[in-house]
Each structure stands twice: as C-alpha cells, then as structure tokens.
Symmetry: C2
Subunit: 650 residues, 2 copies
C-alpha cells in the first residue's frame, strides 16, 4: 500500500525533507581542496559524489573521457614605467594553494609592447579608442557580455601582441581565471564523443583544433594590478563611459608610455575527466529522461561556482532516495548528472551529449541546469518558454529562504514587478549542448547574481558561509525548486509543457527584429509559422486537458494516447534544430537560441538572423539576401516545431 500514494503526495513529502544542515555539510566536504578538472583532487570529488549516490542506494555510473585540457607552467609580467622604472608584477593570489591565474588554452609566447586600455574590448570600444593597438599589450576589463575568448580574438584581429583581462569589484586581489577556447567540448573530438581510448582524435596541430584557440597570449590580472598599469598611461582622453575605469589616470588609455613584458607558458595536455550519474529508473516510461545537471570541477575551491549547485544536487539525491524508501518510483527516468571540466568549455557535458546523441535526441524530456546555485539572495532563472508556466507554478510551492512568510514566487515577482524570465542563448553553462545542439527543453536557475569572487581563490566555503548563504537556506530553496521541477516533469501523466508561451515569445522576437529593420525586410514568413505554432499549441492544450481528466481511467488506448501526446510535446523543441546549424558554427543547431558570433549584435535570439544582420552594417544588397534566407530558415524551423507538436503529415 506504500506505493499507492499518489505522486503529488510524494511531491509534498519531497518539500518537507528540506534541510540546510545536510547541504552545508556537502558543500564543506566538496570545497576542502581546490579541485580543478583533470587533477587528482578533481577526481576525489568525483569519488565523493559517487560514494554519496551509492550510499543512498541509487544506481550510480561514472563516464570517463580523455580530453585536451590546459594548465599553466610559468607566467611572468614585468612593467617598465616611464617614471618608476621596471617592476616584476606579482600575479598569484597570495596565501592560497590554488592553480595560478591563467587563461586555459591561451598560447605560450612572449610579448613586449606598450600597454593600452580598450575598455570592454568590443568593436565599438576600439572605434572609440581611435588609436592603433598593433604590437601593444591590450588591457581589458571584463563585462558587457563579451566572452574571454571574444575579447582576445578582437584584440588579435587588430594586431595586438597580447591581452590582459581584469575584473572590477571589491576583491581587488582576486584574479578571474577562465577559458579562451571557442566552441564547446574537447577540441580533439569536435562533434563526436570522446572516449578513454580507441576513438578518433584530431592532431593538436590540425587547423580545426588551432582555430578554436587565440593566436596571441593572454592572461587575467587582478583589479589592483590593472589599476597600477592604467594609472601609468598617457595619451588622448577617452570617452565619458570609460572614465569610471580610469579615474586614477586622468582618463588616459595609452598606448604607453608603460611597456609590458609578458611571458606565458601554458601547456595543453590530455587528461581524464569524470562525469558521475545517479539514475532513478522510471517505473512506466524508463525510456523518457528528466535530467538534472551541475558541473563539479572548479578553478579553485568552487564554493559558489559550481559546488553550491553540487551540494544542492546531492541534497536532491538524498531527498529522492528517501522518497524511494517510502515506495515512490518516478513514472519517467530521472538522472542526476555531475559534470567535469565545464570550466574548460563545457567539456564533460558536451562529450556525454555527443556520445549519447541518439537516445537524448529521441528520449530526453528536459534538462535542468544549476551551476552557481547560490551567489546571493533572490531567484534568477532562464528557460525555454514551454517551461515558463511550470517553473512559475513551482516557485509558488517553495518558501522564500530570506522571508519566511512568503513564497519564492512572491519575492521574485515582487522584486521584478512581475515575472522576469531570461532565455538561454548564452553559452555559459552545461545547458548549452543539451539545448543548442540537441534541442532539449532546458532550465537554468540560481539565487543571487554577479558574485564578487567569481573564478578567484576567494570562492571558498568561508565566503559562502560569511556572505553568500550563511544559513544555507538559499541552498535548500534551490533544492526545493530544482527537485520539485524534476518531479513534476518525471511524474505528470501529461508533460507540463505550454507551447503557447513559446509561440508568444517567438512573436515578440519577430516584432522586435521587424521594428529594428524598420520594415526594410519582410518577416512575414516567421509571423506565419508562429501563427501556425500558436494555433497548434492551443489545440494541444485542449487535447491535454481532456486527457488529464481521463487520468484516472486506464486502458490500452488511453495509455497509448498519453504516450503519443507526450511524444509530440517532447519532440516539438527538436523542430527548432536545423541540420546545417549556424553559419560558421555548424555545431550549434538551434535556430532560436544559440550564440551570435558577432560582438555587437545585441540580439540574443534567432542567432543566424542576428549574425546576418550584424554582418550587414551598411545593409548592402547581398547581405539582405542572406538575412532573407536566414529568415526563411527560422520560419521553417518554427513550422517544423508546429508540425511535430501537431503530429500530422501535410
């Protein structure tokens, strides 16, 4: 009689199992040592997670891959100041036994050149700077959505000798590590799954590999070091918007007179990485997957990034295991995923996705990502739009961690004066391969934002327990949201997807673009497909409503009817994929959400159209043809989603 408890009863029990104590213990254990991917300490965290899953009696699995990672060997920087003479600059975060600050995959090399400040390193910044940076060492502050690799490439394109990046903020001695590789996954196995041995591997010297790395050396420096350099610059005055960065230098950006002498020795080498999984097989539809994923590897101690998420994952596992002891089994399979080597370019998740593309493509219901679970107070969340309603619903079921009498929904909507949901065009955590390569509906969520110790030695348990989440209630809140979301997706007889939201979001995007181009190009093809999608979505909601009412009844026909409707709901997102992918970046197959390869498009949807528009600064006729073709591709992708949702032939 245990097992006869209805799923919703178990869902309430799940919420009642909240515990800030367990989650804080997990975080402490995970962050005892720095645990960079590919190191023995990194492997120890894999063992820790594995042991935790096993001790809960969960089916546990480890997938090992050999991939190309990148580590610092020797790095030095000397500044020759015109007035102060030469000075060797300290580059490490003193007092921490962590990997020295570096850019993974930056080439080794030497550069001697005048220092020059290029603000955020965008195209518009170089235009505003108005000086030749060729041969210079460019100093750039991180921000405005520019990726590390993008900053270095932009400087490289202008002939710079090297790039130093820094991050503004209160931790002036902290240095933000990071990767400068372009694209996702192991660079030696682009597009296919790496294995431990016996698989195809490109040579390190293959052009396809080389193209993923910048050609000029770069590294991160502290805010303090950056300010010392910037302070010493002369040259013309810079635009107003730059002056907050140059307040100690009379607003001069160089080049020079300070000359920087930078030596970078970074070694790329094959390393073993480990994804760890706990699988809770579905009792009725074991071939449908609800995936919860978080990466485990960290640049240093990783208390925020990513192990606040790992601690939550382990706590969700604990709660699920408890439900199982009460007799619960999910209808669909739930998989808890602990990724390795995300920091190097989503490598652990991407290799797994590439190795499992067939079954993920035809069987995965949703991917739920949590990376830096707790950065501070307040929910922030992004998702594909068919999940909007479900996530909103879930936020109403979990108590706010900072204000006991209200729900997360209340705090979240109160702070934002309404619903504030972001989308997933970024390539900044492990949802990217799932959504942008395979078309799996995805969610990303976290508490707090823009935490000051990002990728520095200061991202430790100490920071978390002092600043990020002293009572670990925010951790517990994320566990509630994340775990309940997966329970609904795994247990609901009809998948809780709303494609009307998707259609309305797409309609808004299309209007934005149409207005931006001031009617010079017709967006009618997209408007038409969106209208079709909306009509189908409304039909499907009616159909779902009827089948939900029939929920109690059970016959062969009803069982299959539900399955067939769920298949359509699951597969509709795949319609947005295009086998040809994004031009110049064909691995990215999703035509609604994915990276725009131009620095200044400012459009975070329809990436293929955004790229075509940003290439057409003067709206040349040729380019209008490209934009038109990309509009057609998107229109057809949306129509495919509508067709899959409708499930009929034309």
């Amino acid at each position: 009689h245990k097992a006869s408890k209805p799923p919703t009863g178990f869902h309430d029990t799940f919420l009642s199992l909240s515990s800030n104590y367990t989650v804080s213990e997990y975080l402490r254990s995970l962050t005892l040592h720095p645990h960079l991917a590919g190191t023995p300490e990194g492997y120890q965290t894999a063992q820790y997670v594995k042991t935790h899953f096993e001790s809960l009696n969960l089916e546990t699995k480890v997938s090992e891959y050999e991939v190309l990672l990148s580590y610092p060997v020797k790095i030095s920087l000397t500044a020759h100041f015109s007035n102060l003479g030469s000075r060797v600059i300290g580059l490490s975060e003193v007092g921490f036994d962590v990997v020295r600050p570096y850019h993974a995959y930056a080439p080794s090399g030497k550069a001697v050149g005048a220092a020059v400040f290029a603000n955020y390193g965008r195209e518009e910044d170089y235009r505003a700077l108005g000086v030749n940076v060729s041969g210079s060492v460019v100093v750039v502050r991180r921000g405005e959505g520019m990726s590390r690799g993008g900053v270095v490439r932009a400087a490289e394109g202008r002939g710079a000798a090297a790039v130093l990046t820094y991050t503004e903020g209160e931790y002036v001695k902290g240095v933000e590590r990071g990767t400068v590789m372009k694209g996702l996954g192991d660079p030696l196995s682009p597009g296919w799954g790496s294995v431990v041995e016996g698989g195809e591997k490109l040579e390190r010297s293959d052009t396809e590999v080389e193209d993923r790395f910048p050609k000029i050396p770069s590294m991160p420096i502290s805010f303090e070091t950056a300010e010392a350099i910037l302070r010493s610059l002369e040259g013309p005055q810079v635009p107003l918007e730059w002056r907050d960065a140059l307040k100690n230098s009379n607003f001069r950006a160089g080049p020079g007179p300070t000359v920087l002498n930078f030596t970078n020795q970074v070694e790329d080498k094959n390393a073993r990485i480990h994804d760890v999984f706990a699988v809770i097989r579905g009792s009725e539809e074991p071939d449908r997957y609800v995936l919860l994923g978080n990466h485990r590897d960290a640049w240093t101690f990783g208390a925020v990034d990513p192990n606040s998420g790992t601690a939550v994952l382990l706590d969700v596992a604990r709660r699920y295991a408890f439900l199982m002891r009460l007799g619960w089994r999910p209808r669909r399979t739930i998989i808890l995923c602990s990724w390795d080597a995300e920091e190097f370019g989503m490598i652990g998740s991407t290799e797994w996705v590439e190795n499992n593309i067939m079954n993920l493509g035809s069987r995965a219901v949703a991917y739920l990502n949590v990376d830096c679970a707790v950065q501070g107070p307040g929910l922030f969340t992004s998702m594909t739009p068919q999940l909007d309603d479900l996530v909103i619903d879930i936020t109403k079921k979990v108590q706010d961690p900072d204000a006991p009498d209200i729900t997360i929904y209340d705090e979240w909507t109160g702070r934002n004066k309404g619903i504030n949901i972001q989308r997933l065009s970024g390539v900044d955590s492990d949802f990217a391969p799932f959504l942008q390569h395979v078309g799996i509906p995805s969610v990303d969520m976290y508490f707090g934002k823009d935490f000051p110790v990002y990728h520095t030695a200061f991202d430790s348990y100490d920071w978390m327990s002092t600043h990020g989440d002293p009572l670990f209630r925010r951790h517990a809140a994320v566990a509630g949201l994340w775990g309940l979301l997966a329970l609904r997706l795994a247990d609901d007889p009809i998948l809780p997807f709303n494609y009307s939201s998707y259609a309305m979001q797409l309609q808004e995007y299309t209007s934005i673009l149409s207005n931006k181009l001031e009617g010079r190009i017709s967006f009618t093809p997209i408007f038409k497909s969106v209208k079709n999608l909306l009509a189908v979505a409304q039909e499907v909601e009616e159909e779902a409503k009827e089948l939900r009412v029939d929920g109690g009844a059970s016959s062969d026909v009803i069982v299959l009817k539900k399955r067939m409707l769920n298949d359509r709901l699951m597969l509709a997102e795949r319609g947005f994929l295009d086998a040809d992918g994004l031009q110049g970046n064909r691995w990215f197959k999703h035509l609604v959400y994915g990276p725009s390869n131009k620095y200044d498009s400012n459009i975070d949807f329809f990436p293929s159209i955004a790229n075509a528009i940003s290439q057409s600064t003067q709206a040349k006729k040729d380019n209008q043809a490209t934009i038109r073709h990309e509009i057609w591709r998107v229109a057809r992708a949306i129509q495919r989603a509508a067709d899959a949702l409708k499930g009929d032939l034309s």
Copy 2:
C-alpha cells in the same frame, strides 16, 4: 464481433482477394494517354487515383507543389557524313503522340563538332579511347550504372561540345528519355519543402541551382540513329570490350569524320505537381506510419514505368478497403502514396519528405517502394537488411504467378540458387529520400528486369499485355507481396525487424573494403561497432521473443513495454544518418546507403568511404587521412544505431 478477428486472419483474407482482372483495368485506365508530370494529362491521373481512393471510402489527400520542371521546345540534329553528305536526322518516335525525346534540364544551346564514341562514358572509357574529345559531340551508350547526368558531366569535364546518349536493345526506334539533373527534388528549394505559394525559392540563376545541371547540351537518340552515326566513324581501333557496339564500323570510334550539328531548345518552367495519398489510420498507434509508395508520372504511357506499380497500389487499396468493411483496422497507420514528377528527379516524393521531415523522422516505421512493378518474370528485390527476414517470410506466403504450384520464394531462391537480395544505394526511385535523407527502413521490389521499352513511346498497355504480363498474374503477385508486407509492419505487435542481419551485412561490407585496401588502412573501428551492433541485436531478439509470448496479456506496463521496444527498432536505422552527410553532397545523410559521387568506385555501400577511396587513386598520404576519417564517421554511425537499438545511455 467483426473486429475481434485476429490480424493474421485478415492477412489471409487479404491474400484471398487477389485479382488480375481489377489490376489490368486500372493499368488500362492509367495508360490511355501519355501523362508527363506537370501536364493536364498528368493531373488527370492524379484525379483518377484520388477518385479511386475516395470511391473506396478511404481518407484521401492531395499535396500540391510548385516546382521547376523542364520540357522540350525544339530540337534538331544534322549529320554531315564525309561520303554521304548531310542528312537531317529524325528524332521522334514516329506514330506516337508523346513528348519528343529529350533530356530534362539539359541546357539549350547549339553544338557543331566531330562525332566520337565513348562507350559507356566512364572515366576508364575515356582513358581507353585515348583521344581528345574537346569540341566533339560525344556519343555514349547507356549502361554500367552510369547515370545520364554523370555521363554528360564526364564529357563536359573533358571539354566536349555536346552528348548524345542511346540505349541498345530490340526496340531500335525507341528513344530513352530521362533527366540529367544532379541531386533530388525541386532545384529551387534544395533541402526544404516546396509549397504552392509563399515559400522560399532560389533564383533559377543561383549557383546552387546551376550546379545541378550540366553546362553542355545533350539528348537521347535511338539505337538506329546511333548505329548510323557510329558506322560512319574512322580513327584508331578501339578496345575489344567496345566492339559489340561498333561491329558495323570496323571498330573505329572517331572523332569524325562525321560532323554533327545539334540544336537543343529545352525550357525549364514552374509547374504544379500532385502527390495523392490514402490514409488508413491506425487504431492503436496512429502516430506510426507504414508507407507504400509508387510514382505516377510517366515519360510516355508508362505501362511498365511506373503504372504497373500504380495499378498494383490501387489494387492493394481495393483489398484494404475490403478488409476494412470486414472490421479490420491496422494497429499502425498505413499510407498509400502516389508520387508525381519522379522522372525529373524524385521531385514529388522529395518535396513531401522535406515538408514532413520531423514526423517522418520520428514516426515512420518503413517505406515500401514499387516503381516498375512488372517488367517481366521473376522477383527482384532490394531492402535495408533488418527487413530481410520479413520479406523472405512474405515470399513464402504468395503463390508464384508463373508456376502455380510453387511459392514466389521457391521460384526466387531456385533461380538464384539461394536468397538474392540487393541493397538500396541507388538513387533511382522514390525510396531514396526516405532512406538516404531520413533513415527510414526501406524496400524496393519488382518482377522482371531490364525491360526493353524503358522511357520510350513503346512502354504502353499494349506492350504489357503482349510481353510484360499478358495474364496480369505478376501484377497480382506484387500486390500480394507488397500489401502483405505492409500488413505485417502495420499489425505485428512487435515490429518484425532483425538487426542481426544488418550487422552481418555490415560486417561483410567491412571485410570487402578491408581486403580491397589490403590492410593498408585499419577498419578496426568499424569492426568494433559492428560487433556491438550484433550483440545488441541478439539481446533485442530475446527481448522481442519474450514480449511476443506475452502478446495476449495486456496491462499498462506491457503496452508501454512493447511501444518502447518498437521505438528502438524503428529508430535504430536513424543512427546511420550523419548531420554532415556525404562530403560534397550533404543532403545525403545516410552513411551506409547512398550515392558515391565518383564514376568508378564500384562500391555500393559506405558511400563516404567509397568516395574517399576513389579519390585516392595513388593512395597519397593526405587521402589516407580522409579515408581514415570517413572510416571513423561510419564506425560512429553504426555505434549510434547500436545505441538507439539498445536504448540506454553510456
């Protein structure tokens, strides 16, 4: 109580409904007039088929597309013989009111040049010929697997001014029409579905369109005309193997002294085409499709090509409708498809496939093609290997049409001294888009082979009733095979697919290639994946056996278990697809079956490897790298099939 008859009972009834009378009537009606695609007479056949389906009370649908077709305007040929003077050559088949012989999509133009004979027009033929054909009008006999377009392109690549093709055989006044377009489907909508209005269309002048057509004019001539020209040639003696073609000319191939003056005026224009469908919705799994397809358009009367198949399709419809009146409904949906514009390059089927790619990709169980159903006596059949056992089984259930006391199986295996099954790498009928673009398990079948009136005015009801199938028993036999095959695929609770056959076929292919390359390149990656596929296939057969035994029982769990196993069986074939497709021909996604783009590879499987090998005539080191990479791609494709069949994550 009608509906309680078990499916196999209905299958026996289906066989008992055989009728050579009805099928002969259908064929007579279909072939009363020539019915080229895009013409009013072509549209009349669509109406005829539609009316037939409707009169049987079947759910009927017509899909209309606007596509670029190609028709002759004015064509002339004058021969200047050194001894006989000039002669205007008659090019039409006298006494028939049919479209004049031409090559669809051949460019308009004039060519004056010495005649030269190039045997089958292969690379090796030009090497053996050993003369410069630049500026000449090349005469080529059809055969040896060279496509019409391939013949013209090879001549074009050698600077020829024009190409005349002819076909040897008893109908010396017949002329073989055909298309010279490369690739499948409407040239103005490559890769996406054409619609009647409002869709994207490339310009006729777009390079991507131009690339699909030869640059030099060409046309077909009769055997009689060809012999008159060949007889007049001088020049050096040709190789022994050519001499059967040149027996009246002392084995001389030119160039000259005969000079040919050829004017070709062919018009490409937009036309409407019509696919016609009858849909029999599945009672339990309406979202799974078993497709029976045949094209309807013909170059002339089309009694063999394709309407022997159409007549059979209509008779299968008649029989199914009868079963429905007895209470039968298939478990899965059966769709009878009547394609238009196949002769121009599989255009009707390709546009439909492109328009329905999402739902075909995730829902189609199998595509069963019949084109020239009856060309003479004896079964010939090709299929993807998981269908071998089923087809063999079916041939044991249908009586041989020419020997009343034995089954088709007996005649077929007797004649071939065993099982003789071909595969589907050809791009010569409508199975190509289903299998080679979407990865749907496919069958092609027909009686007789190499009929002499192919694409000529002599392909008429008269020829069929005199030579091809005077008693129409072969037609009835094809109806039995085809219809029963679909019934099994639609009704069997567990799909009758055997992937061990596939694995063994793949193993054989790999051994052939490995021997051909004499161990210079390792095929271990493919052998390994094949071994994995075989192991999974054997597991799955055990699983299927158990579920077949449980067939009587019915519970939610069993219903879903069957569905889940069938999904794996259905989707395994999709694993052979690769998003990047064949190099230089990316629309073709299947890495086991598809066209090799080189004239002389002689390997009709693993097309991407075959292409890489044929490019490496001297086995240069670069090329070995390409072959190796293609071996890896195939190995991974086979592993994907194994993964999909296994249905588990790694």
